[in-house]
Symmetry: C2
Subunit: 359 residues, 2 copies
C-alpha cells in the first residue's frame, strides 16, 4: 500500500507517492513507453539502486541513459551541473526528455536545477533516497548549486512532475544520516504541530527501526506540513521563515567546522536547542518544553550539546552572514511552545551568546 | 516623447519604454533611491554608455556596481554567466538587488539568465542597445547561454521588470548590425502584418537614416506583434514557430560558415528568401511577392544571395540538427502571401535543395 499526497502550488499540481518498494513499480513515475529519460545519481547510490531502476524503466519501453556524479556536498557545484547538462546534450536529449533525480538532497538540488535550465526547462522526477530529502526537498520546488562564495546561491524554483519516495531505500542509509533526517522531522512538530510532536515521542523508536507504517505516516505528514507552509508563503511573506528553526545557529556550526564534519541535521538539532534557550531567556518557553525537545532529540540519536572545540564568539559572524539576516539585525525563529514559533527581529547579541553558552 | 507598450504575460506585466535619450531619464527604470543595482555590459559598450548610466543612477540615490564581460557571441558561455554571478556575490548583492543588462542580445541573454538564477531569481531590467535586441529579445522572456554542444541550450524563461529602449543608442551601432536587425523587422511584416510590410517599403530609408519617429513606430510595432505571438503560444502550441521564418535555412549558413562570419540577421535574410522559394515550388506564393520581399531586403542593405562558398548539400545536415526538427522530418515556416505563413511538416528534401539552389 502506498500513500499519495497531491501538492498544488503555482497552479501546478504533482503527486508525492510514499510506500515500500516503489522503485520497482512503474506506475508511480507517470512515464510512458517511448519516452526518454536521463537518470542522475551519484557513485554511492549507483551500485545499490541504479541498474534495477534502469532495467525496470526499460522493461516498460522507456529509453534510459544515466549519469553518475561524485558523492558529496562539495560536488554540488557548477561543474557537476554542467556534467549533467553535457550528458543531456551528448545523448541528444530533447525538450520532451525527462530527468530523474535518484539520491539525497544534493542530487535532487543539482539535478533539479539542470532540469530547469536544459532547453529552458524539461520535466523532472524526484526520487529522494535520504530521509532528509524525503521530508524536506520533496516539497517547495527549490533547486540550487553552491558557489565558492556561498551555499545554494545559484538555482531556480522548479517543481517536479512527480516525487517517488521508496521507504525501502532507507535500509541502506547510514544511521547517522537517518538521524539527521529526524532532526528536520522533529522540527515540523516544534514549529507547527504539537500532536505530531506527541506522536513522535511515542514512535521515535519505530522510525529508527524503519517500521514501514510509522515511516510512511511520518513522511506523509512532514510533506503535508511543508506544503502548507510553502503555499501560505505565496501571500504571507514571513511564513516560510519558520522552516528555519535552528538553522541560523546550525549554519554557524556547519560553516565554522567545515561542511561535512557535522551533518546539517545534527547542526540543526543543536541549533533548535539554542533557539529554545533564547526563547527561555526571553521568558517565552517553559522548561518542561525544552526538556521534551531535548529528550526527543536524544532518543533520535542526535547531538544536543554544542561542539566543544568551537568558541562562543565565533557563532555571531556566521549568523550575521546568514541569507535570512536583514541589515545586520539578528532575526531568529523562536519556539514559544511545542507546536508554535515566532519569527523575531532585532534580538540582542548578548541573549544569543548566552543561549549558545547554555547549550 | 516616448511610447510605452505594456506586455502582459504569465500573469505578470511589464512596460517597454521606447524613445530618445532614455538612458539619462531615471523614471523609465522603475528604480528607487536606496536600491542596489549591478549593471552588466561588455567592453565595446562600456566605454560609450556605462559611466553616464552609472552617474545618472547614482545621482538618484541608486547604489551601483558594474561588471564588464568580453564582447561577442563566443562569450555567451557558462564562464561569462559565472563571472556575473561572482560579481553579484563578491559585492554582497542580496535578493532585493536589481540587475541591469546594457547591451545587445548577447548581454541580455546571459545577464537575464544570471538574474533568473541568482538566489533563485532577482529582478532585472533590459536596456537593449542593438536594433535586433530591441525588436526581438525585449519580448518573450527567453534567456540563455550557449554550450559547446549547442547554441542557447541552457537558460530560463524569465521576464524583466521593465525594458528601456533608447533609440539614440543606435547611432553608434555599426551599419551592418543595424541591417541585421532590419531582417527581423521585415520578418514580422512577412509572417503576420502586410500593412506593416507596406509601411516598411516606404520607410526603410528613414529607418536606415535613424529617423526617430520611424524607428520608434517600427520598434513599438515589432514588440507588439511579438507579444501577440508569444501570448497566443500559451494556448496554441505552434504559434511561436512562425517567428522562425528563414531561421532553419539561416542556421545552416551560420553553423557551416562559423558563427560570426555571417551575422544572424544576414543569414535570416537569405533564409527567408529560401523559404519563399520553397513556397513558390509548392505553388503557394506568387512571384511578385517574392520580388517585393527581395527588394525590401536589398533596400535594407541585406544579402539576398546565398554564400557562394557553401555547397548546397551541406545545408541539410545542419537543418536536420535544428531544435525545431521533430523526428528527422523537415518542418519549415512557409510564406503563403505577404503577411501570412504556414508551418509545414514533412517537406521533401528535393524541394528544399531546389529552393536553396534557386536562391
Ligand atoms: N531543495 C530543498 O528544498 C532542500 C531542502 C533541504 C536540504 N536541501 C539540500 O539537500 C542537501 C542535503 O541532503 P541530504 O541530507 O539528503 O544529503 P546527501 O544528498 O549528501 O545524502 C547524504 C549521504 O547519503 C548517501 N545516500 C543517499 N541515499 C542513500 C541510500 N538510500 N543508501 C545509502 N546511502 C545513501 C549519499 O550518497 C550521501 O553520501 C543539502 O545540499 C541541502 O542544501 C535541499
Ligand atoms: N532572448 C531572445 O528572445 C533573443 C532573440 C533574438 C536573439 N537573441 C540572441 O541575441 C544575440 C544576438 O543579439 P545582437 O544581434 O544584439 O548581438 P550582440 O549582442 O552580439 O551585439 C552585436 C554587436 O554590436 C555591439 N553593440 C551593441 N550595442 C551597440 C551600440 N549601441 N553601439 C555600438 N555597438 C553596439 C555589440 O557589442 C556587438 O559587438 C544572439 O546570441 C541571439 O541568440 C535572443
Ligand atoms: Zn534544514
Ligand atoms: Zn532571429
Amino acid at each position: 500500500m502506498q500513500k499519495i499526497l497531491n501538492v498544488a502550488l503555482d497552479n501546478r499540481s504533482y503527486p508525492i507517492t510514499i510506500g515500500e518498494n516503489l522503485l520497482s513499480q512503474f506506475e508511480h513515475f507517470k512515464l510512458h513507453s517511448g519516452q526518454r529519460v536521463l537518470v542522475v545519481t551519484n557513485d554511492t547510490i549507483a551500485p545499490i539502486y541504479l541498474q534495477d531502476l534502469l532495467d525496470m524503466l526499460e522493461a516498460h519501453g522507456v529509453k534510459t541513459d544515466s549519469v553518475i556524479v561524485p558523492d558529496g556536498e562539495q560536488y554540488k557545484t557548477m561543474e557537476t551541473w554542467n556534467q549533467i547538462l553535457t550528458a543531456l546534450l551528448a545523448n541528444n536529449h530533447t525538450r520532451s526528455s525527462i530527468l530523474v533525480a535518484l539520491g539525497g538532497g544534493v542530487i535532487g538540488d543539482v539535478a533539479g536545477f539542470a532540469a530547469s535550465a536544459y532547453q529552458r526547462g524539461i520535466k523532472f522526477i524526484q526520487v529522494p533516497t535520504t530521509l532528509l530529502s524525503q521530508v524536506d526537498s520533496s516539497v517547495g520546488g527549490k533547486t540550487a548549486i553552491n558557489h565558492p562564495l556561498g551555499k545554494n546561491m545559484i538555482g531556480a524554483f522548479y517543481q517536479p512532475q512527480s516525487v517517488v519516495i521508496d521507504i525501502n531505500c532507507l535500509k541502506t542509509l547510514p544511521q547517522r544520516e537517518l538521524s539527521a533526517g529526524l532532526a528536520e522531522v522533529i522540527k515540523y512538530g516544534i514549529i507547527m504541530d504539537s500532536a505530531f510532536f506527541n506522536w513522535l515521542e511515542t514512535h521515535i523508536d519505530d522510525l529508527l527501526n524503519l517500521d514501514v507504517d510509522a515511516l510512511s505516516y511520518c513522511i506523509y505528514r512532514c510533506c503535508e506540513l511543508k506544503a502548507q507552509v510553502v503555499a501560505a508563503d505565496e501571500t504571507e511573506q514571513d511564513m516560510r521563515a519558520i522552516l528555519n528553526l535552528g538553522h541560523t545557529y546550525g549554519h554557524a556550526i556547519e560553516a565554522e567546522l567545515g561542511y561535512g564534519n557535522w551533518l546539517h541535521g545534527e547542526a540543526v538539532s543543536v541549533g533548535m536547542l539554542m533557539a529554545a534557550q533564547t526563547a527561555k531567556l526571553l521568558g517565552l518557553l517553559a522548561d518542561k518544553d525544552i526538556e521534551r525537545i531535548e529528550n526527543l532529540l536524544i532518543k533520535a540519536k542526535l547531538p544536543v550539546k554544542r561542539p566543544e572545540q568551537m568558541a562562543i564568539e565565533s557563532y555571531i559572524p556566521h549568523m550575521l552572514r546568514d541569507k535570512k539576516v536583514i541589515s545586520g539585525k539578528l532575526r531568529l525563529v523562536i519556539p514559544t511552545k511545542i507546536g508554535q514559533v515566532e519569527v523575531m527581529d532585532g534580538i540582542e547579541k548578548s541573549v544569543v551568546l548566552e543561549s549558545i553558552n547554555n547549550s
